[in-house]
């Protein structure tokens, strides 16, 4: 055991912190799905890009900083520590881009990756469908080969960043006769293709950046398929694994929320509140340390086993516990918001509250994670198939 950060990492932290602190935007941004908000986000993204800070995890050959897992963690911690704006091209940077790097042809890489870096293209993910949520492989959107084109029909939903995206990486069924997990292809499509309609999907807390995407005879070049045709499920594992893995700055934000509760409790401490606070603080600490442990494992190239699922499961439960406690402490004031719904999105307390509860559902529900953990880590038998 050795739980100290190396001098190299400490120096890197200082460097990142210094740059972020002196370059951070002033004031809070509007949501990215408003015109003003998008402009603010893109300006900030441009500043990151200019400084080479746009894609810390990408290899240098693709324009990234080529950071290893530990340096990325430090970067993400510092970014989260200052509560800096969400990266609007997250789906391209963390999911689509790395998948193209791993499975795309050199021509595809050359065509698509630069646009992610400089935000000339904003990417979104087209995996979920109305009837394919937890059961992702139950997707029904079809891709029909016609000459050198793939003609798409179907509906995608829960497309984060969908309202501002220009490109989507999607899973479509290209062989209807194959078993459920086969016959799926991974394809990139321009959202201005004819036959593509993007409708904003507003959430109950007012967030309106997600979208539903309707595909009606939308023709994309067959050359846009990443990896072999009908091998899309395997290809998508790259992206899904990243999604189910850690959000590298999550523990920092979690600890920050606990601090906020601690400050409120501190104003009038009583044993009941202190006991609950102590417990929340304990699990936030455990989650932070488990994030480090996963980073340690990944940086050694060792098998992560079920640890990403364990982290996802515990993360959502710890976070919902914390945000519920925030409501308890605010009491009757917990429901108050500065401006009237339904026009405006909810302010941070309520937004984070619902977002934490969403965490038990997206990227594999709590129930799905428990299935994965019990079957892979514990080796318990699968449910009998009906």
């Amino acid at each position: 055991m050795d739980l100290t950060f190396s001098d190299d990492l400490l120096a890197f932290r200082a460097e990142v912190r210094a740059w972020l602190e002196s370059n951070q935007p002033t004031g809070r941004f509007q949501p990215y799905y408003t015109e003003e908000g998008l402009a603010q986000h893109l300006e900030w993204e441009a500043r990151l890009f200019a400084a080479g800070y746009s894609a810390p995890g990408w290899p240098k050959e693709f324009g990234g900083l080529g950071l290893d897992h530990w340096h990325q963690l430090i970067y993400d911690e510092e970014y989260a520590r200052l509560n800096l704006p969400e990266r609007v091209n997250k789906m391209g940077l963390l999911h689509g881009g790395p998948t193209v790097m791993a499975h795309g042809t050199p021509a595809q890489q050359e065509a698509w990756l630069p646009g992610i870096l400089d935000n000339s293209d904003i990417w979104c993910q087209g995996f979920s469908e109305p009837d394919a949520g937890s059961d992702l492989a139950g997707l029904r959107t079809t891709g029909r080969i016609e000459g050198d084109q793939l003609v798409l029909n179907g509906q995608k939903t829960w497309t984060s960043f969908g309202v501002i995206a220009t490109k989507m990486f999607a899973l479509v069924r290209t062989d209807r006769d194959a078993p459920k997990h086969r016959g799926i292809s991974f394809v990139i499509l321009d959202l201005d293709t004819e036959g593509v309609e993007v409708r904003p999907l507003r959430q109950l807390h007012g967030h309106a950046g997600f979208a539903e995407v309707f595909l009606t005879e939308a023709a994309v070049p067959l050359a846009n398929v990443v990896g072999p045709l009908n091998e899309g499920w395997r290809i998508a594992q790259t992206s899904l694994k990243l999604e189910r893995g850690m959000g590298r700055g999550t523990h920092t934000r979690m600890l920050h929320t606990v601090d906020e509760i601690a400050r409120r409790v501190g104003a009038d401490p009583d044993t009941g509140s202190l006991e609950r606070l102590g417990s929340h603080r304990a699990w936030a600490f455990a989650y932070e340390q488990a994030t480090y442990e996963l980073t340690d494992i990944m940086s050694r190239g060792r098998d992560e086993g079920a640890l990403p699922s364990i982290l996802k499961l515990r993360l959502s439960e710890i976070l919902t516990g914390i945000v519920e406690e925030e409501r308890n402490i605010l009491g009757a004031r917990a429901e108050q918001i500065p401006t009237g719904p339904p026009e405006a999105p909810l302010p941070s307390t309520q937004r984070e509250y619902w977002h934490a509860r969403a965490g038990e559902i997206y990227a594999g529900t709590t129930e799905i994670q428990k299935n994965i953990i019990s079957e892979t880590a514990l080796g318990l038998p699968r449910e009998p198939r009906p």
Binding site: R202, L204, G272, A332, A334, E335, I337, G340, A358, R385
Partner: protein
């Protein structure tokens, strides 16, 4: 003993349910969100025609002189249909407060109009707290310096405070005059508090009841992995747990309402206990409902949000989750000490 509602009580609840279904269906409620008032005068008129605000007004002031239990099915149904109106204050706590705590003169001046629905009353029992539906109320009962005061609508300034649930209308009320003191004893004020606690529990139980039943319905039609999701133990056990808690909480609230109505020596403690169960049961139902609905429940278009947000608001309103639990803990300590004392006495 009889836990079921009497035929009259049942019929009264059914009439209210029909009225709510007609006036407050989710679609209509959504229209009210962008409306400045957000309140439907026809709903209030309908309730007045049913006699709801008259139930707790004594006969001699043109009321019905009924029991708190008579209003129980109406409040449960208001929760079950997420009725966008501070009914709890307008037909339950408010009329009782003025009837029980008002002077003979005050009762004579205010109660007949309350009973007929001509005059609407609202209440805030936490000092400085927001007042629901103050903008459509003619009388506002406020707690100040440990006493209850009545203000008429023209004598206060209202500032709307926005809240998460767009169906709720909450106001910061600043009186311009001193208002009229309700000359009540501490004991009578406790009776008002008990009605707020138990009534709030009943509404929460209605909300929780809907959250569970709507989710059961969804689990019976949603397929994943080639199965109805309601056939997975992972889903079934969550729902059975929530349902069983809501059932017990509902029974507790009915029993506490009876004790409150009967001025049982334990009425205040019982009201607290009922509210604790209601909050905890609704909390679980709220969690399970959204979890089992998954993404669809998060959309602004899905009506589940009406109950999700109302439930979260009422968990914290009317006393605060942990504050009530502490008070109930103290009640238990005192009652145990009394019991020990009596045993020694034997």
């Amino acid at each position: 003993m009889r836990y079921a509602f009497s035929p009259e009580q049942h019929a009264f609840g059914e009439s209210a349910a029909d009225l709510f279904a007609k006036r407050c269906a989710p679609g209509a409620q959504r229209l009210s969100w962008t409306d400045d008032s957000g309140r439907d005068p026809a709903l209030w008129r309908g309730l007045a025609d049913l006699g709801a605000p008259a139930i707790l007004v004594p006969d001699e002031y043109d009321g019905i002189g009924g029991s708190e239990c008579d209003l129980l099915p109406v409040l449960e149904e208001a929760g079950r249909q997420a009725v966008p109106d501070a009914l709890l204050e307008a037909v339950f706590v408010g009329p009782f407060a003025i009837g029980a705590c008002g002077s003979e003169d005050q009762r004579r001046r205010w109660l007949p109009a309350i009973a007929s629905g001509e005059s609407r009353v609202t209440v805030a029992l936490s000092e400085g707290g927001l007042v629901p539906d103050a903008h459509v109320s003619d009388l506002i009962v406020l707690a100040r310096d440990g006493e209850l005061w009545v203000h008429e609508a023209g004598e206060v300034d209202l500032e709307r405070v926005h809240v998460e649930d767009p169906s709720r209308r909450m106001f910061q009320v600043t009186p311009r005059t001193q208002g009229e003191l309700l000359p009540a004893s501490a004991e009578l004020r406790d009776q008002v508090v008990a009605r707020e606690l138990v009534g709030s529990a009943v509404v929460l139980n209605g909300i929780a009841n809907h959250l569970v039943s709507a989710t059961v319905a969804y689990a019976k039609e949603r397929q994943q992995f080639g199965r109805l999701i309601g056939s997975f133990q992972g889903v079934k056990h969550l729902l059975a747990d929530a349902y069983s808690k809501v059932e017990l909480a509902t029974t507790a609230a009915r029993a506490a309402t009876w004790r409150v109505a009967a001025a049982d020596p334990e009425y205040l403690a019982s009201a607290r206990l009922a509210r604790i169960c209601a909050v905890e049961a609704e909390f679980v139902a709220n969690k399970v409902a959204l979890q089992v609905h998954g993404g669809i429940g998060f959309t602004f278009e899905h009506d589940l949000q009406l109950w999700l947000k109302r439930g979260k608001a009422l968990e914290q309103a009317h006393g605060g989750r942990y504050q009530v639990a502490r008070a109930a803990g103290l009640d238990a300590v005192e009652s145990a000490q009394r019991a020990a004392y009596n045993e020694e006495d034997d």
